[in-house]
Structure formats: C-alpha cells, structure tokens
C-alpha cells in the first residue's frame, strides 16, 4: 500500500501539457490521465500552448495537428524544438487525418521540420494513449 502510494507520488510529478482545441477531448483525457496520477495542463490553441510550455516545463507535450489552422500543430512543434529550454521535451502528435489520405503535407518526420516522438491517429482510446505516454515517460 505504501509502495503504491509512493509510486503514485512519483507519477504525480509527471506533468503533461495537452494542446488540443477540442474542449471535450482535452477535458476527458485530463480526467483520465489525472486518475492515473499525472498532472495535466490544457491549452486550446498553439500560441497559448507554447506560453504554457515555457511557464510549466512539462515532461511531455501531447499536440493536436489540426487546430484553428490545418497544420497549426506542426508550427507549435517546430517552435518548441527551436527553443533551447524546451527542445528536449518529448512530443506526441495526434491527428484525425489518416496517413493514407493524401494531403498537402507529410506525416513522416523528416529533417526539414522536426523529429516528434510519436504520431498517433485520432480517435485514440484512453488506454492506448496512456500506453504510449508510458513508453516515453515511465
């Protein structure tokens, strides 16, 4: 029991910044991840997300690609990676567009923009997202 509490305590220090303009998606994932011992900070747009990242120095950023602009998430990731203080924060990118669908941008991380840690498709189940988070920040 004590051990479990300790574990929870350790996890609680893990901070996740979730940047997604879907209020419901952000809210329900916050509720879920908090129940698993994470601290979750929500931002609904890219600009605010970057600001919050600078303020809170999260352990992980979960970032939606399509926000007010089609590729806003990409710009946010680029800016985070360009910031010396933030560029070591791992990023999980979420998108509701499947890779197979042809769109005017690439989903494969390449040198021209940024190496994000994971690309995940929406909708994503709570467990699957947790699993991916734990792979990166155990």
């Amino acid at each position: 029991m004590k051990n479990k509490m300790e574990q929870k305590q350790t996890k609680k220090r893990r901070k996740i910044l979730l940047i997604d303009d879907d209020v419901d998606f952000a809210y329900l994932n916050k509720v879920f991840l908090e129940s698993k011992g994470y601290q979750v900070i929500i931002s609904y747009d890219g600009e605010e997300g970057i600001k919050r990242a600078r303020q809170t120095k999260p352990d992980l950023v979960i970032l939606d690609v399509m926000m007010s602009r089609m590729t806003e998430g990409f710009d946010v990731a680029r800016e985070l990676k360009a910031d010396e203080e933030l560029n070591n924060i791992p990023i999980i990118m979420l998108t509701a567009i499947r890779k197979k669908e042809k769109l005017p941008w690439t989903f494969e991380p390449d040198d021209t923009w940024l190496p994000v840690n994971r690309f995940l498709e929406k909708p994503i189940s709570l467990e699957k997202l947790l699993e991916e988070i734990e792979k990166i920040i155990k």
Binding site: D21, D22, V23, D24, F25, Y27, L28, N29, V31, F32, S35, Y44, D45, M66, M67, S68, A96, I97, R98, E101, K102, L103, K122, P123, I124, S125, L126
Partner: protein, 489 residues
C-alpha cells in the same frame, strides 16, 4: 458517233475520196469526204473527226494551210498526209505542219488501212494518256487537299499529338504538342532523344517500340505544373510495327477536382472521427468507473449527447450539400409565403433562444409570394437564425427583417453576439471553416451551415452580405432578385 473512229478524206480527186471511203467503211469506220480545204474546214467545224486524210495539193485552201489550221484549232484530230509526189520535202513539210503520218500516192487498200489504223491508235493513246494525266493531277490535288485537311485537324486538336517512326525519329507533331513539350523549331525528323526533352515520355515510346507488337501504354505525367494523361499506341501497317503515336491530354482540372474531393473527404472523416472519439472517451470514463461522481457523470453524458447531436447535424448538412451537387434532384419552385415560414421557424427556435435569454424580434414587411423551393428557404433561414442564437451573448437579441430593397428581396438576420474577427470574414463560407477562439470553443457546429446558405443563395442568383463588429454582433443580409422570383398576386 462511230466508236471505231471517224475519218474525213480531203482530196480534189473524187475517185480517191470514194476509194478511200469504200475501204474505210469496210473497216467499220465513219467516213466523210471533202473536195477542198474550205469544205473540209466546214465539215470539221460541224462534225467531230478523229483522223483527217489530207492531200497536200488542194484547191481553195492548200493542204499545208489546212494542216496548220488543224494543228492550232483541232489538235485532237490526227492528220495524215496524202502526197501525190512521194518526196522527202513533202514529207518534211507535212510533219512540220503537224502531220502524224503520210501515205504516198498511189497506195494500196492495205497501206491505207495500216496508216489509218496506226493514226487512230495514236489518237486513242494520246487520249488515254491525257485522261490518265488529268486523273493523276486530280488525285494529286485531292491528296494534297487531304493532307492539308489532316494537318489542320491534327493541329486543331487540344491534345498534343506526336508520331515517331520505327527508328525513334519524330516524324509528326501538332501545335499542342509543341506547346506542351516546348519543342524547338527544327525538331522534325530528329531522334526523339534530341527533339523531346522529356525522359519519361521518351522512355514510354521507346519501351513500346522495343516490344515490337500492337499495344498501348498509358501513364499520368506532370509537365510544367500541369498534369497530363499520356497514351502511346503502336502504329501498325500490314501487321508490322512502323512507329508509335503519343497523345497528351491535359487532365489538370480533373486532377484538381479529384484532389478537392479527397481533401473534402479527409475533412469529413476528421469531422466524424473527432466527435466519435469524444463520445467513446466519455462513455469509457463512465463505464470503467474512473468517474464516480454522479454530477460529473451527468455532465459528461450531456456533453457526449451534444457531440452526438452535432454529428447528426453534420450528416444532415452533408446530405444537403450532396443534394445540391446532384443534378438529378430538381428544385420544386412553389410560391412561398416567407413571412409565414419565418414565423413557424422562429417558434421552433424559441426554446433554444430562451435558454440564453435571447429575444427574437420579427419585422416583416408585406412582400409578394416568392417562387422558391421550400426546403431551400428553410435551410437558408434556419442556418442564419441558428448562428444568430449560437454566437449570441446571454440576454442578447436577434432581429429578423424581411423587406424590399431596390430590385431585391432582402432577408436580414441581426444578432448582438460575439461578432466575426475581420481575418475570418472571407472564410466563414468555406466548407468546414469555423472561427476558433476562446469565445467559440464551446459552441458546437459543423462548419457547413454558411456554405450551404451561400450555395442556395447563389443558385437563386442572389447574394449574401456580412457586416460584423467584434463584440457587438453580426448582420447577415440575403438579397434575392425579385424580378426572377416574385409572384404577382
């Protein structure tokens, strides 16, 4: 006219004339006689002769003069000279004057027959030759006309056309091909590799030529920002491959269209997946017992239901759009009492308005009945009304006007809501575009309402105007030309 030929015998000696006539008649020829040059001329003018036997010594008009005249005015008639004094001089003169042959007096019937037969044969030969030459000339002319026509047709084609021979040399191309491939002036009859700078096309043609059989290859190709469908077909003559013909069809617009369609489908799947994921997520939290607080559960159920409703609205909107795209669905133009419909619709939205304590004011002028599809008008009006409520502030108001404005009928929906940021005003009619900011974040919507409104208004040759001021509200005015749709009562 005698098919075997007609002969005129010109001699002042009657016995010669009659003798010749007798012999030649037996040959089945038509024969006439003349006793001097003038009579001969007269007869030649009246009748058609193939051959004239002329005695050089004639009264009235000499044989030489007659020959001379014949040569210039009747070149088709074969002249044969009868000479009384067989001499070299006479023969030379006769031939100079255009005689074909000569027969010295006295002659046997056999000699006469031979000379006449030879002369007539020559005449038929000349005629046949002339006929053949004329025919050939006509054919050549037709051929060159055909060639010009073919060239014009090929050059008028919008598709690029290239023809390559078996050796891989460019032997024909049209204007479109020259433009598409930027061909140089002197590229004709040059190897494809030098003439055409497009490796992909060269590869296609070469691989077809290498196969040595009747076949076609087809490939899409990008050339200078445009997309082409390239077909290469073998040119086969007598079972042998003699070259290849390539056609380049501009499919840029088609490609753009299909890209737009793909992007649209991607947006649709995004717009469907997001709410589905959220609904699933909320249900998961509740079913797995992660959320236990009853009020929180209720709250989540409500949010999930809202997303389901938006999803249903999305399906409805997509169907409306699909119906507008489909040509098969005809509009049912009936005289509508817009004031009545507006009142009915406002009643339906009253509950929604009251939730936010919004007052709806209706100012309807008396207007003529309008010819419109009922569903179209309802879609236009309810989308505007719904927005005016959704994007309004608590305690705000919505003003609805309908009136004549100049040549138009004007439907105006005013709200006292959050307004539209200037940078978004042009985009609000785009499919799936939604203003996303702090104030709109929690307002549900499909991003399709205003594009539906705009499409309908355009279909009725109308226009839509937006005035907006952030923090104060928006005014949407729809103008429909009364001239087209008003029904005089």
């Amino acid at each position: 006219m005698n098919k075997k030929g007609s002969v005129l015998v010109v001699d002042d000696e009657v016995s010669i004339c009659e003798g010749c006539k007798k012999i030649l008649l037996k040959e089945g020829l038509y024969v006439d006689t003349a006793k001097d040059g003038l009579e001969a001329k007269e007869k030649i003018r009246r009748e058609k002769f193939d051959l004239v036997l002329v005695d050089l010594k004639l009264p009235q008009l000499s044989g030489e003069d007659l020959l001379h005249w014949l040569h210039s005015s009747n070149p088709d008639i074969v002249p044969v000279v009868i000479t009384g004094y067989p001499s070299f001089d006479g023969a030379v003169t006769a031939v100079k004057e255009g005689a074909y042959d000569y027969i010295p007096k006295p002659f046997t019937s056999g000699e006469l027959r031979r000379v006449v037969r030879r002369g007539l044969e020559r005449k038929w030969l000349i005629q046949e030759m002339r006929r053949l030459r004329e025919e050939q000339e006509k054919n050549l002319k037709l051929l060159s006309q055909e060639r010009t026509k073919l060239k014009s047709v090929i050059n008028s084609m919008t598709d690029g056309v290239l023809v390559v021979n078996r050796l891989g040399e460019l032997v024909l191309y049209n204007c479109a091909a020259r433009q598409i491939l930027n061909l140089e002036e002197r590229c004709l009859n040059r190897p494809l590799k030098e003439a055409v700078g497009n490796d992909l096309l060269i590869g296609m043609i070469n691989s077809l030529l290498a196969k040595q059989k009747k076949m076609t290859l087809s490939q899409e190709m990008d050339i200078d920002d445009k997309n082409y469908l390239v077909n290469v077909a073998a040119v086969v003559d007598d079972g042998k491959l003699i070259g290849a013909v390539a056609s380049l069809k501009d499919i840029t617009r088609l490609r753009r269209f299909s890209e737009t369609k793909l992007a649209f489908l991607s947006m649709v799947s995004h717009e469907i997946r997001s709410p589905l994921g959220v609904i699933e997520g909320y249900l998961d939290l509740i079913l797995k017992g992660i959320v236990k607080d009853e009020q929180q559960i209720k709250d989540m159920m409500k949010k999930a239901k809202e997303r389901a409703q938006t999803l249903r609205q999305l399906v409805d909107d997509l169907l409306s759009l699909a119906r507008m795209e489909s040509e098969r669905v005809k509009k049912e133009l009936v005289p509508l009492d817009l004031r009545k419909i507006i009142s009915e619709m406002v009643d339906l939205y009253q509950d929604k308005a009251e939730e936010k304590n919004i007052k709806i004011n209706i100012n309807l002028e008396k207007i003529p009945a309008i010819l419109m599809d009922r569903n179209d008008f309802i879609l236009v009006f309810t989308n505007l009304l719904d927005n005016a409520i959704k994007y309004n502030v608590k305690g705000g108001s919505v003003n609805i006007y309908i009136k004549k404005e100049g040549p138009d009928l004007c439907l105006r929906v005013e709200d006292t809501g959050i307004g539209i940021p200037p940078e978004s005003r042009e985009r609000i009619f785009d499919e799936f575009y939604r203003v996303k900011n702090e104030k709109t974040r929690r307002i549900p919507g499909t991003g399709l309402g205003l594009s539906i409104v705009q499409r309908i208004v355009k279909a009725y040759q109308g226009r839509i105007k937006v005035d907006s001021s952030e923090g104060r509200g928006s005014v949407f005015s729809v103008y429909l030309p009364l001239e087209n749709f008003a029904v005089e009562v």
